[in-house]
Symmetry: C2
Subunit: 174 residues, 2 copies
Amino acid sequence: MNFVLDAGVAVLQRTPASLRALLGGLPDEWTGATEGPDSWSPYDIIGHLIHGERTDWIPRARIILAQGGERRFEPFDRFAQFRESQGKGLGGLLDEFAELRAQNLVTLGSWRLTDAQMALEGEHPAFGAVTMRQLLATWVAHDLGHVAQTARVMAKQYRDAVGPWRAYLPVMDR
Amino acid sequence: MNFVLDAGVAVLQRTPASLRALLGGLPDEWTGATEGPDSWSPYDIIGHLIHGERTDWIPRARIILAQGGERRFEPFDRFAQFRESQGKGLGGLLDEFAELRAQNLVTLGSWRLTDAQMALEGEHPAFGAVTMRQLLATWVAHDLGHVAQTARVMAKQYRDAVGPWRAYLPVMDR
């Protein structure tokens, strides 16, 4: 599937509500569960998505759009949520994510990006040249990857509880 | 994590709304997309979940609870949705799933299952003896596995569109 802005935005708009429907009000034993050491809980994932709204997608899109002399993106901090989410409840994080996402989609919409702008390039610190279109497609895919991860982390908590059914549940061993 | 009824039900209650938030109103290019031949789209997955509500979880729990002479479950038809969803829109399927799930949780709650009943056994056509507790844990994990699958199938539609970012998106190659 090629990236088409309207179809991508349709997914970006839905992510905060899907994560809220999945996680809102759940006991901590679900939202704080991980896949083992150095893996993330649903709570950690929401903090990571918030950090992306603040520092990744729209800030990088601005750099591409500006086409200034410095087009290299700041490296993204994959561990910022362990600092920034401290002391916050999950409900508040879900609200924060929804608000930031809504603001960012207003910003994106206000740009009315043309096909030519979609082809503009920035410089990724690891990959080198990347386009606006690739950045925006990645924003969408990144959301979906973390929705999948959230559900997978939760499913794995019942790896033993399901008994022999584990053989029919590939999610347990991904 | 051991299976505890209240915590399991908390997830079962949330699945219809999370899938509705993720998929409701999305263009068909998302909801009809698959991972390739013989794999399922989000649309197919909702039909599969509906069939489970009708023929799998509660009907099997009834067999276990009754402890009659015949405790062997009917085999589950994993392909029923290709017949039963025909001609139905996704919005209608999401409604149908939500209604059936709500009814089934009322039934489950009305049983007020004791620890002794949680240990009662039925006979799975492939695995042999399974307990009520394992069946109910599997209901929860099965939901979460299909939520993860739904998001993964969607993410993969941008496998090429994300360009070099694919290297940072493990969901693309699961």
